[in-house]
Symmetry: C2
Subunit: 294 residues, 2 copies
Amino acid sequence: MTIQLNEFLESRKQRIEEAMPEYIEQLHAPKTLKEAMNYSLAAGGKRIRPILVLALLHTYKQPEDAGIATACAVEMLHTYSLIHDDLPAMDNDDLRRGKPTNHKVFGEAMAILAGDGLLTQSFSLIVNDTHPSAENKIRVVSELVQAAGAEGMVGGQVADMEGEAKSLTLDELQYIHENKTAKLLGFSIISGAILAGAPEEDVEKLRQYAYHLGIAFQIRDDILDIEGNQETIGKPVGSDTTNEKTTYPSILTMQGAKAKLNDHIDYAKAALNSISVPSGLLVQICDMIAERDH
Amino acid sequence: MTIQLNEFLESRKQRIEEAMPEYIEQLHAPKTLKEAMNYSLAAGGKRIRPILVLALLHTYKQPEDAGIATACAVEMLHTYSLIHDDLPAMDNDDLRRGKPTNHKVFGEAMAILAGDGLLTQSFSLIVNDTHPSAENKIRVVSELVQAAGAEGMVGGQVADMEGEAKSLTLDELQYIHENKTAKLLGFSIISGAILAGAPEEDVEKLRQYAYHLGIAFQIRDDILDIEGNQETIGKPVGSDTTNEKTTYPSILTMQGAKAKLNDHIDYAKAALNSISVPSGLLVQICDMIAERDH
């Protein structure tokens, strides 16, 4: 029986949004710190990263309970990166998803520390999870540092910052997005596969799926910045153009960017073709990412 | 044969200082990011945290190789906390150990990211270490998040920040230092014991040792801020008084602070009395912390 995509997305989003504040609530930590951590966790978003973890467990017909901690961990890690990105020294954003950014509410010092706390907490959730074996927890943490640290998201953020003032080549743009965005989305998929006990051959194919899905996600983002509806995407349209940011459409033309998006979606689906279980849900997620309007 | 304390401290400091840049060098990451991470790692300091990890392996007559990764990890984690503490939004310090702080050299955005990178990297070192079992790695990571996150150092930092403007009780001061300083020093000792395969009863006694050593370390710090020699400690004397910071001497008088320091040193040594191996080196470290002049 195929599950309806929207039903899956909605119900899992809800589950994640219920679980996250519980992890924070349990902490023996100063009240303001917990409030600051919770504030940004509660600020909404598609929750695509944690949902992907659960989608992998669902695909391998494993209890999704085994993925809740890791799902919350990746969302906490993503949230820390948004808090630090929004800081005055970085993007200096006052609003995120229509709400004041963390440092606007709690001050810069607390925002830095809330980010540091969420980053550290994400590792805590994984290692203190009762479901996986020690070996699998080590694999998951190892995948997370690879995706999130200097060789992943943090490195991508630095490259993005250093590339801001200049016109980038397609390779440079690709490096930024692969590291800044695709690797963490990839982590969701790989960690879900590991926790589901997927065969090693499948894990490697899912790495391909994850890579192409991640790049497709970013190309769609760039397209939406030009063609999107301001109210639907929740931020001003055309900001990349205003900021003279290099994007897929700016290098490839809009038509070229759309063609590249479709290529990556095709590659992602092709990678799913030969995994050992029916992958209907993962195919649907591909299509959703290619067509999303926010 | 008892090893000379100074010889132990010097040789291990050197070993750590050689190993750390190698871990950074290997990273596939933007050059500036690696430079920023290395800059603060190379800025010197006593390296007391990593040395403690190795001291535990030495005490249990285990190869110290098994502790190098974790030793470097705790120093990277400590260094990230210094970089973030020094930021304009936090303590706004221009100098650290006589050298310009990270953000003074690389800018605020890069300093935030270098800190984020070092924090993430510290987990990488532990999980990718080839020496410990998966179970021991999990225990070590779990101890690290406990010591470093919202329930440890980050929480202590928040409490410190919130307490800056007001006069603190001894309990409040104790909470700050236990979390901000003692827990990470404690991590060094506990992780070293775990990696050395120390018996569980010893680990619990070493937790007591670590707690009292950590508090003693901080009391000594407060005393040095009043009685220390500016050139030896490498920062201006009397800054706590100028900043109206609550300290152990300001609550307990200098005589009271010294008595409390001695009490904690005595408790620390008492905890060592009943561990299953000779603890000469750990006793010497106690005395060094009680008597250090920088």
